[in-house]
Symmetry: C2
Subunit: 161 residues, 2 copies
DNA sequence: ATAATTAAGTCAATATGGCTGACCTAAATA
DNA sequence: TATTTAGGTCAGCCATATTGACTTAATTAT
């Protein structure tokens, strides 16, 4: 007897089709990070520096704790990267209202680097989206959002409030 | 004078919206790799091992050269990972028709690991896609494909021929 | 007022996954 | 026969992450 479940699986839920998505995620993410990576390399920084600069630029008066909760890395990992960014004056630290905390902001230099790096990715995405209609784009956004785990959806919502 | 270009930018091409996509790509990719990573850790493997197993499983009689052209890493980087997989009998090497080349195939053990790892990602994607209609899914796939650089699109097409 | 918790920082060791450069062998091709 | 190709290996380096242990200063709870 034929496997009715299999016969009834819609085309887009076929394993073959889903594996294509797995591969596209791998290829697209790699290509997506390639541009900034090349720029960062020239100044002896890595992708981790971009992430820090990105979220510090996004969120004004971000604290270390909040940054750690976005990046989900240990403070020891963050510290190396952050110390470099502070030493080289891309990021400025100041004491928060709660004096145990620190506020992080981008310096002019930091803002310029942030712009330079993110612009590559923004342009890439904009050029892609221009080829599609609003329906396709909505599908893309909604599904991408749904690919994020519940806890991180909350984090995403929080930083985009 | 107001910047007409900015006023005319459709909502979905706004920088704010595009930055959301940047963040969703970061969060979703991280969550996407988390499941297999945990399984791999238990057997002292990493994400690189998964990639190798994935593509060896996909393409029968893959050669080292072809694998390198998919992964885009150096042969020295591949060698460490691949040697472990061969030593621990997940992958079997044999001589190709061109006797300089080697064919890579998954052993039973390798197939089982491949299944276990990819199943996590397949289920995750399937559960997500189930919530959407075909139009949304098409938008997602098409845009993801368009996010891949031209050269890698060719590679993707090649392995899905 | 004191104790407990929190935010941040630091030191040390370890793993993974990349890289470059140099060099080798064997087989296929020009 | 000479050159190119596929694959392998040694050595060293770098970036990014981890765990564990411990410190300081400030806030909060008892």
């Amino acid at each position: 007897m034929a496997d009715l479940n299999k016969l009834l699986t819609p085309l887009f839920l076929n394993e073959v089709e889903i594996r294509k998505i797995i591969e596209l995620l791998f290829f697209s993410y790699r290509d997506f990070t390639e541009g900034p990576d090349k720029v960062l390399e020239k100044i002896n920084f890595g992708r981790a520096h971009h992430r820090v600069i990105y979220f510090v630029g996004k969120q004004k008066n971000l604290t270390i704790k909040e940054l750690l909760s976005i990046l989900k890395i240990t403070k020891q990992s963050l510290s190396r990267v952050l110390n470099q960014l502070v030493n080289e004056k891309y990021i400025i630290l100041s004491v928060g209202e709660d004096k145990r905390t620190k506020k992080l902001i981008l310096s002019k230099k930091g803002q310029e680097l942030e712009r330079r790096l993110s612009e590559i990715q923004i342009k890439k995405i904009r050029n892609v989206l221009l080829k599609f209609n609003e329906m396709d784009i909505n599908g893309f956004k909604k599904i991408l959002y749904e690919m994020v785990d519940v806890k991180n959806k909350e984090k995403f919502d929080e930083i985009n409030r």
